[in-house]
């Protein structure tokens, strides 16, 4: 058995080293994930902010686009149930589908709430980001969702990415960025 004692000790050392190696690997993996997540989160903010700034440049409502403001404010604004892009081929003044392809694209939006229920996939240098936006009226006292028309609308941009996962789950982390717009502040 001479020499086999050393072999056993070496084997034991391998086991100990294996445990250390697994721990080190976990650390390296966590570090890499942190770096990737940080960079992707910056992109999430940039994309959401880009959409919010773009939406700010449009009219507050489909019915406030004329030279004269609506007679009754906020009652003449679009009803909460009809927020979103407008498809009405019989009425070209309202119809947002300018190219007539059956869908209203981002560059055809002409008012703030056209972004409601808009879903898209944005290709960037950091990969694909999935976008889902929501626009709704908010109460001017607490800025919570309002069932009726008000002079405040909120856009909520929800962005996900296939590499941004919740820590202990396979589901994607959802990032929400919001902006409140006031008709009178335009």
């Amino acid at each position: 058995m001479a020499g086999y004692g050393e072999l056993l000790q070496t084997m034991a050392a391998i086991v100990i080293f294996g445990l250390i190696l697994m721990s080190a690997n976990r650390m390296i993996q966590r570090n890499t994930m942190m770096q990737v997540e940080g960079e992707l989160e910056q992109e999430v903010v940039a994309l959401a902010q880009d959409i919010i700034e773009e939406s700010r440049t449009l009219e507050f409502d489909e019915n406030s686009q004329g030279e004269v403001p609506p007679t009754k404010i906020p009652d003449d604004f679009t009803s909460p149930a009809n927020l979103g892009s407008d498809k009405d081929a019989s009425n070209p003044e309202v119809d947002d589908d300018l190219d007539g392809d059956g869908t209203v694209q981002r560059d055809e939006f002409d008012d703030f709430d056209d972004y409601h229920e808009w879903k898209d996939t944005l290709e960037t240098a950091h990969g694909r980001f999935f976008l889902d936006t929501e626009v709704f009226y908010v109460d001017k006292t607490n800025y919570e969702k309002s069932e009726g028309r008000t002079t405040f609308k909120k856009i909520r941009v929800n962005i996900t990415n296939e590499f941004l996962k919740k820590s202990n789950a396979d589901s994607d982390t959802e990032y929400y960025l919001e902006f409140i717009r006031n008709y009178y502040a335009d």
């Binding site: 058995m1 001479a2 020499g3 086999y4 004692g5 050393e6 072999l7 000790q9 070496t10 084997m11 050392a13 391998i14 080293f17 250390i20 190696l21 080190a24 650390m27 390296i28 570090n31 890499t32 942190m34 770096q35 940080g38 960079e39 910056q42 992109e43 940039a46 902010q49 880009d50 700034e53 773009e54 700010r56 440049t57 449009l58 240098a125």
Partner: protein, 212 residues
Amino acid sequence: MNAGLLTSFIVAGILIVSIITMNNSVTNSSSELTMTQFTRERLASVSQLISEDIQKMGYNRTGKTDPILQVANSHKIKFHSNIDNSTDNSVEVITWEFRQDLGITSTENKNDRVLHRIVKNEDGSEEVTEIKLGVTEFYVAYYNDYGVLLSDSLTTPVDAALRDDLKQFYIKLKVQSPEKIVTGSDGSGRYITSVWEKRFSPPNLEETAENN
């Protein structure tokens, strides 16, 4: 020498090589993380400075400056603002320029360039800040009232009609680490890169009627 002892030597040798490899991996990962933090800190410092300047574009205590914008191209932007909020309403001319011809010699990275921030006071004196924080890209694009991209290179001086149209800016800033993170055994590696993008709507550009 017996077989057991010989085997243990071989296994111990493999073990030592593995330990060295693991040590290298941990060291690389650590330096990459540190370098990432370092690059992001640098990026944050520059982006904060840009954000503060851009938001104050056209600002004066009693109204807006006239004109607001002087030069607007993809690597240079020059505008007027009472940046120090001086009570005598003196307006400074602020220039942000990415000098593509001016590399930073003190770093190993061949891509980084000097980003200039120049504040020209009314008395003609200039405060030049050379930002040598690893900026490898500084890009500006211009949008109109409807969020439509105008151009990334407007005529200089900026035409009055274009000036009225211009409402938003998109700025992209890319910063790289001064040194490579070595990833290969041959000494090859990559620079840590961090990118910041933002679309601005400076408040003083929102109403143009008073500007002209």
